[in-house]
Amino acid sequence: MSLVRRITRSTVAALALPAALLALWWVLSADSESYYLPPLADILANVDDVWLFSDRLSVDVLPSVLRLLGGFLLAVLLGVSLGTAIGSFRRVRAFCEPVLEFLRAIPPPVLVPVLMLFAGIGDAMKVLVIVSGCLWPILLNTVEGVRAVDEVLVETSRCYGVRGPARLWHLVLRSASPQIVTGMRQGLSVGIILMVISEMFAASNGLGFSIIQFQRTFAVTEMWTGILLLGVLGFLLALLMRLFEQRVLKWYFGLRQAQRGGSR
C-alpha cells in the first residue's frame, strides 16, 4: 500500500515539472514563425518518423550509447584509480595536478585531432573523446572524497592492520563513495555531451552525428527531435545511475535518514 503510494508519488514528482515545461513550450511555440524554433507540436509529430519508424535506433542510437557506456566505464576506472592515488599522496597530487589541470582546460574540438593521431578515426577515438570529458568530474570528486576520509576511521584501520587492498576497499573507496558517485553523475551527463562532440568529427553514424547532420541540412524539426531524445537518454541514464547509487550508497542514505529521525 505505502509502497504503491510512494511509487506513484515519485512518478508524479518526476513527471510533473517536465510535463508543465513541455506544455509551456507547446503553448509558446504554437504559432512560432521562427525557422529555428518550430512549434513543439510539429517536433513531436516528427519523433516517430525520425526515430521510431526508421533504422536510426539501431544504426545511430545504439552505437552512440555503446560508445558512451564504454567511455564512461573507462573514465570511471581511470578516474577512481587515478583519483585515489592522487588523493592519498600529497606528493603525487602536487606532481600531477598542473598537468591534469592543463589537459582539463583543453577544449575537445581541438583535442580531437590529437587523439585522432594516436587512435585513428574509429570508435576508439570517440571513446577516448568521451573519456577525456567524463574523466574530470570523477577524478576531481574522487580526489576530494579520498582526502576527506574521517581521521578516526583512518586510525582505526591502521590499528587493526587493515591495509593494502582491504584498506582501499573497506576504508578509502567506501568512505569516498558518496563523492565518487557525485562525480559519476556529473561525468555521465558530460559524457553525453562529449558523445555528441565526438561525432562531430570523423563520424558516419551516431545520435550526435544525426543531430549535427540535421542541423547542417536545415532539418530543424528533426534536429529538435534529436535534442529531445538526448534529453530523454540523459534522463534514463540518470535513472539507472540513481538505482546504482541507491544500491551502493544504501548505508549513506540510511545514515542520513537515521540521523534525521528515522521516519521519512
Binding site: 521562427s34 525557422y35 529555428y36 585531432p113 585522432m116 593521431l117 585513428g120 578515426i121 562531430m200 568529427f201 570523423a202 563520424a203 558516419s204 552525428f209 547532420q213 542541423q215 547542417r216 541540412t217 536545415f218 532539418a219 530543424v220
Partner: protein, 302 residues
C-alpha cells in the same frame, strides 16, 4: 533577431556608408572578399564591410536568417538543401568555381602514396573522407566515380575536417580523401597522389559556392544588395585577374604558410554563376538522396 537588424544597420546609410557584416570561413575561397575590401571596392559602393570568421553552415545560415549577418559565403549544395527545406535564401553572386581543368583544380581526391587505387572507379567499397557528409564532397566524388565507370553506391564516406585529412591519408586511416587547398597541396607535398578532380568530373566549370542573403533582405534593401553584388563581382574579377595579389591577401586573413600560398592552385573567380552546372548538381543531389524533391535552382539563383 531582436534588434540586431537595426544594429546591423542593413541598408541605412549611416553617415553615407552602410555597415555590413559578412559571415565567411577563413579559407582560400573568400580571398576576393578580403581583397575587395582592401582595394576599396566596397567603400566605393558606400559599404563598410566587416568579415566575421565562421566555421561554416552551423553559424552562417542562422546568422543570415536572423539578420545578424547581412550576407554570407556558403557552398551551393548547402544552399540547395536549405532552399529545399524552405529556408528563404537567395544567392546573389558567385563565391568561387572550379578551374575546370582536369588535375589542375583547387581540390581533388587523393590517395596515400603507395595506394593501389589508380582511378575513381576503384573507390567503390572503400572509405573516403569528406569534410561534411551529404554535402558537396560526397556528391561530387560520386559523380567522379560514376564518370570513371565505378559503382558509387557502396562507397563509405566519413567526415573529417580538411586540416586533419593529410594526416589521416598519410597514416592510411582512410583509403582516400577529398581535399581542397591549402591542404590539397600539403597532402601532395607529403606524397599523396591525386586520382580525380571531382569538381571537373561533375560539370564543366562547376560553380562551387555563392554569397547569399535572405529574400527578406533583398526585398527590404534592394539598393544595398545591388551595391554589395556590384562590389563583390568587381572583387571577384579583380582577384581572378591578379592572382598574385590574391595570394598575398591570403597571408593577412589566414595563417597559411607563405611557401604554401605560392604553390596552391587558386579557384576560379569568374564573377558568374554557372546555372547549368548548379542544376546538374541539384539533380545529382536528388539522385543521391540529399534532397527529396527536384529543386529548380532558379529560385535560389539571382
Amino acid at each position: 533577431a531582436c534588434g540586431s537588424s537595426d544594429a546591423g544597420g542593413s541598408g541605412e546609410k549611416a553617415g553615407g556608408t552602410a555597415k555590413v557584416k559578412v559571415g565567411a570561413i577563413p579559407i582560400v575561397d573568400v580571398a576576393p572578399l578580403h581583397l575587395g575590401k582592401e582595394k576599396g571596392f566596397f567603400a566605393e559602393q558606400g559599404i563598410d564591410v566587416e568579415v566575421v570568421n565562421t566555421t561554416g553552415g552551423a553559424a552562417a545560415v542562422p546568422g543570415v536568417v536572423s539578420g545578424e549577418f547581412d550576407f554570407a559565403f556558403g557552398n551551393l549544395v548547402s544552399l540547395i538543401v536549405a532552399r529545399s527545406n524552405n529556408l528563404p535564401l537567395k544567392a546573389i553572386a558567385e563565391g568561387n568555381s572550379s578551374t575546370g581543368q582536369q588535375g589542375k583544380d583547387f581540390g581533388g581526391v587523393v590517395v596515400p602514396k603507395d595506394s593501389p587505387i589508380k582511378s575513381a572507379a576503384e573507390l567503390s567499397g572503400k572509405t573516403v573522407a569528406v569534410n561534411n557528409l551529404k554535402n558537396i564532397g560526397d556528391t561530387t566524388v560520386r559523380a567522379s566515380i560514376r564518370k570513371a565507370g565505378g559503382d558509387p553506391t557502396n562507397v563509405k564516406f566519413v567526415e573529417l575536417a580538411f586540416p586533419d585529412m593529410p594526416a589521416a591519408v598519410a597514416a592510411k586511416r582512410v583509403d582516400a580523401a577529398w581535399i581542397v587547398e591549402p591542404f590539397f597541396t600539403v597532402a601532395q607535398n607529403q606524397g599523396a597522389r591525386v586520382i580525380a578532380s571531382n569538381f571537373v568530373d561533375t560539370a564543366p566549370n562547376l560553380t562551387i559556392s555563392a554569397y547569399f542573403t535572405t529574400e527578406k533582405n533583398i526585398k527590404q534593401n534592394p539598393d544595398l544588395v545591388k551595391r554589395f553584388t556590384a562590389a563583390i563581382e568587381k572583387s571577384l574579377k579583380y582577384a581572378q585577374e591578379h592572382p598574385a595579389e590574391a595570394r598575398a591577401v591570403l597571408l593577412k586573413y589566414t595563417k597559411i604558410d607563405p611557401t604554401v600560398t605560392e604553390k596552391i592552385t587558386l579557384p576560379s573567380w569568374s564573377g558568374q554563376i554557372n546555372r547549368e552546372s548548379v542544376q546538374t548538381m541539384a539533380d545529382l543531389m536528388l539522385t543521391d538522396g540529399l534532397i527529396k524533391q527536384k529543386v529548380d535552382v532558379s529560385e535560389l539563383l539571382p
